[in-house]
């Protein structure tokens, strides 16, 4: 009844390049693209654009949809240049294996780091422009006129001198056979008619009618269900389990032991779950069975003063400037591990046959899922088919690590039948790749006017890159741990030094929405407030002085402050705080209006956010992302803490890992202030400013400086 696969790796790490696929990452349009055979019907004008005879336009979306709106915003980039009728556009996900077969015609599929628009805007616009040029060329050939005499609008080509017209659907098949232009010409942004407009999302109808669009909804014929229990202590392994205890459980087909977990397969998920809960498993906990949050905190505290820190940025002479400073400001900050808690728990459906490995999965990276499935099944990537679905949340959990894909393939291979593996919420909270716990120590020197002449920054904690992508470390150092203190730190401080002491925990860490900016934004922007307070200055005006040579940042900061009415007193009973963060190529400033009750209860009433992403694809989607980021940041600031007890996570579900609910939602006003000229990310930059803006408001209200999160653990009672 029990099958034990002889594979020791627990999961496979992301990209095909990392997995030894050796695929070139360089991507050029449209050299690699061979149009699919153009039968009567839809014509593939190029890899991104398919046009049907009835003018329906299908635009391929290589990235994953996890709520951030790319099934709308990425097609808008193509459609703007294609000149098609937006009302006729729908989106389609090309498959990862097709991408492999076509030499990565769709480029990178991995979705994270607020990269979708940021890194694909150019080739998507060029795909649209190339498509438009092909359609014009096909129409011009049909008419026997020069292409230069034709214009396009809303999927119609017009021969200007004669007024003759052809619809895109009428020439798409001919266009698909023409050689693609080598340098398609892009519009000047001032001529955009679609980009920058608030178009409705294309995926809403499916999402309000309960259509089965997520990985968890997949049903394939002859499918069984698996529930899983993973070693409570990270890195532990199952030593033994007593299968006799579940022998009488109805519907149970098999117990499958995996390297760090045990799965029960049954004819329904509920039966599998009941059985796995009842299965006594003895674990070899390894070396970490005594680790606690207190021992981790002690370990990190050592990192704040240890001599082994890597110096990541250094300007001037901090020691000399500190010695001559009129005033010194010092503080230590801390932030806990955090779980992603996607609403859809991790899951994957897999079917392994001798010829093929097929998986259906909510993934931020179809290619990483493909690599994970191939590694788990021990087959070459060409034998794997990945069916991407909509994601019930991602936030970084479903990207770099495809642990659930690996597990599902092992289990499906063991039972020789399709299996849907679904984690319980408890497994999901306890087996995440967490936002790192981190600490920071600051020493700043102010001159007689209160402005900083020196600032020493020390950060410490476990490195995500060391855990997931060690090949990306530079001389063993993960400079990204100091994100927000390195090149993004634009405040004028003449003598400045940033050090990072890496402290690796057994708690696995991963990319959590806004990643290291999430804790560093809190640390930095809170400490800037401390400096302003020490200088006896208004925290907004203090930041303005520090940014006097940076008009782009000033504009964002000013936009938030003005909209919030910073020059007038906050509404009765509330206090204001401000913060500004640059992340993922975008700027976001937030002003929080909060109150603190006598018993220390914090209420965030209003947030004004100003955001500059350079160009804006869809301002309404951007606003929604800022609102979303504020909720993500506020949930973490108020409640978020994963704590460790006896080597394992103490929390397990939404009763002890709380989420913000509607009643606590602040009013959010978002000002979009695009300065143009660059393409910043939209999904994450709104997260980091929230905690410091809120905590700075709490300081303004109470005089209590919050240096550690979450707020539920802080004593803010009025004395």
């Amino acid at each position: 009844m029990t099958y034990m696969p002889q594979i020791s790796r627990r999961f496979v790490l992301t990209s095909l390049a990392a997995a030894g696929g050796g695929l070139a990452l360089g991507f050029r349009l449209p050299a690699d693209i061979s149009p699919a055979e153009a039968a009567a019907g839809p014509a593939e004008v190029n890899a991104w654009v398919v046009i049907q005879p009835d003018d329906a336009v299908i635009i391929r979306v290589a990235r994953s949809e996890m709520g951030q709106g790319i099934t709308t915003s990425l097609p808008m980039l193509v459609a703007e240049e294609l000149g098609c009728d937006w009302s006729k556009v729908r989106a389609e996900f090309p498959s990862p294996e097709e991408n492999l077969r076509r030499k990565r015609a769709w480029g990178e599929m991995s979705t994270g780091g607020s990269r979708s628009v940021r890194t694909s805007h150019e080739y998507l616009r060029k795909a649209g422009a190339a498509g438009r040029e092909l359609l014009i060329a096909a129409a011009a050939a049909k008419w026997g006129v020069p292409a230069g005499e034709c214009r396009t609008a809303d999927s119609v080509i017009t021969h200007t001198p004669t007024g003759r017209t052809l619809r895109y659907g009428e020439v798409a098949e001919a266009a698909a056979k023409l050689p693609p232009p080598s340098e398609p010409k892009l519009k000047d942004p001032k001529d955009w008619t679609l980009l920058g407009t608030p178009q409705k999302r294309l995926d809403t109808a499916d999402k309000v009618t309960g259509r089965p669009i997520y990985g968890i909804d997949v049903r394939v014929p002859n499918m069984l269900y698996a529930a899983i229990v993973q070693s409570p202590v990270f890195g532990g392994t199952p030593k033994s389990y007593d299968e006799s205890k579940i022998r009488d459980f109805k519907g149970v087909r098999r117990v499958v032991q995996l390297p760090n977990e045990v799965a029960v397969v049954a004819d329904s998920w509920w039966r599998a779950k009941m059985a796995v809960d009842a299965l006594p498993v003895v674990w070899d906990e390894g070396q970490n069975g005594k680790v606690s949050s207190a021992s981790i905190a002690e370990f990190l505290r050592g990192g704040l003063v240890a001599p082994d820190a890597a110096i990541i940025r250094k300007n001037g002479d901090v020691d000399a400037a500190l010695a001559g400073a009129a005033k010194r400001v010092e503080a230590e900050y801390g932030a806990p591990f955090l779980s992603h808690a996607t609403m859809e728990p991790q899951n994957c459906t897999a079917h392994v046959t001798p010829d093929k490995v097929e998986v259906w999965v909510s993934t931020q990276s179809g290619e990483a899922a493909l690599a994970a499935a191939a590694a788990a099944a021990e087959v070459s990537p060409e034998k794997v088919v990945v069916h991407k679905t909509m994601l019930g949340g991602g936030f970084g959990r479903r990207g770099a690590v495809q642990d659930y894909v690996h597990q599902a393939v092992l289990v499906a291979k063991a039972v020789g039948q399709p299996v849907k593996l679904l984690w319980s919420r408890e497994e999901d909270i306890r087996h995440d790749f967490y936002r790192p716990a981190a600490m920071a120590k600051f020493t700043a020197g102010l001159d007689a006017s209160g402005m900083p002449v020196a600032w020493r920054v020390r950060v410490t904690g476990p490195s995500i890159l060391a855990n997931l992508f060690p090949q990306r470390l530079t001389n063993g150092v993960d400079a990204s741990f100091a994100n927000g203190f390195t090149e993004e730190m634009a405040y004028a401080v003449p003598n400045y030094e940033v050090g990072y002491a890496m402290r690796t925990t057994h708690v696995p860490v991963g990319f959590w929405r806004s990643v290291n900016h999430s804790q560093n934004g809190f640390f930095r922007e809170s400490f800037i407030d401390e400096m302003a307070h020490a200088a006896g200055q208004d925290p907004y005006q203090y930041r303005r002085k520090l940014l006097s040579k940076d008009p782009v940042r000033l504009a964002v900061l000013d936009a938030a402050a003005q909209k919030a009415g910073w020059d007038k007193p906050a509404p009765a009973g509330t206090s204001r705080g401000i913060a500004l963060v640059e992340a993922y190529g975008s700027l976001c400033a937030q002003v929080a209006e909060a109150s603190v009750g006598n018993k220390g209860e914090v209420r965030l009433h209003r947030v004004v956010a100003a955001v500059d992403t350079g160009h804006v694809v869809n301002p309404e989607i951007l606003r929604a992302q800022v609102e979303s980021a504020i909720v993500y940041g506020l949930t973490a600031a108020l409640y978020g803490a994963i704590t460790i007890d006896n080597g394992r996570v103490a929390q397990s579900n939404f009763d002890d890992y709380e989420m913000l609910r509607l009643a606590d939602m602040p009013v959010v006003e978002t000002v979009v202030v695009p300065s143009g000229g660059f393409w910043g990310g939209g999904g994450e930059p709104g997260v980091p400013p929230l905690a410091p803006a809120l905590c700075n408001a709490i300081f303004a209200a109470t005089g209590k400086r919050v240096r550690s999160l979450p707020l539920k653990d802080q004593d803010l009672k009025r004395v």
Partner: protein, 149 residues
């Protein structure tokens, strides 16, 4: 064998009587619009109507739902059209990832039947479902729009 009335149709299902209704809907009957989020009635992703009451189906054994009128997201719209709540959701582009929205819409539809013109305080008290994407502001606005419909 349990006899269930779901979306106006009778279904005979052969499941263990203590199986939560959620899993009967999703896995036995293939009505996957109702979602699993927590299993402990915390998040509301599994909200359905049982005799008109918004109920978290992960915590209702199927045996307790016999002889009741069960409505899921698939049966919410009256006649192939969209329910007013769904229309308001479309108008405000509420969903992001969308996973919690079936449960949200079911909870809101029940609220509006009980209180056709809910105040913000009514909404705060009644709509306690979790949305991890943070669509709450749009949900509130869409509820007020639906109340006008």
């Amino acid at each position: 064998m349990s006899r269930l009335n779901i979306n106006g149709q009778t279904h005979e299902v052969d499941v263990d009587p203590d199986t939560p209704l959620l899993w009967v809907l999703r896995d036995t009957l293939g009505l996957a619009g109702t979602k699993y989020g927590c299993g402990i009635a915390q998040c509301g992703a599994c909200t359905v109507h049982i005799d008109g009451v918004a109920t978290r189906s992960c915590s209702v054994p199927v045996s307790a739902a016999e002889n009741a009128q069960i409505v899921t997201i698939e049966g919410l719209p009256p006649s192939g059209d969209l329910h007013p709540v769904q229309k308001a959701w479309m108008a405000h582009d509420v969903p992001q990832c969308g996973y919690c929205q079936s449960g949200m819409i079911m909870a809101v539809a029940a609220l509006l039947r009980d209180k056709p013109q809910p105040s913000d305080a009514d909404i705060d008290a009644a709509i306690t479902n979790i949305c991890r994407c943070g669509t709450y502001a749009r949900i509130r606005a869409a509820i007020h729009t639906a109340a006008q419909a």
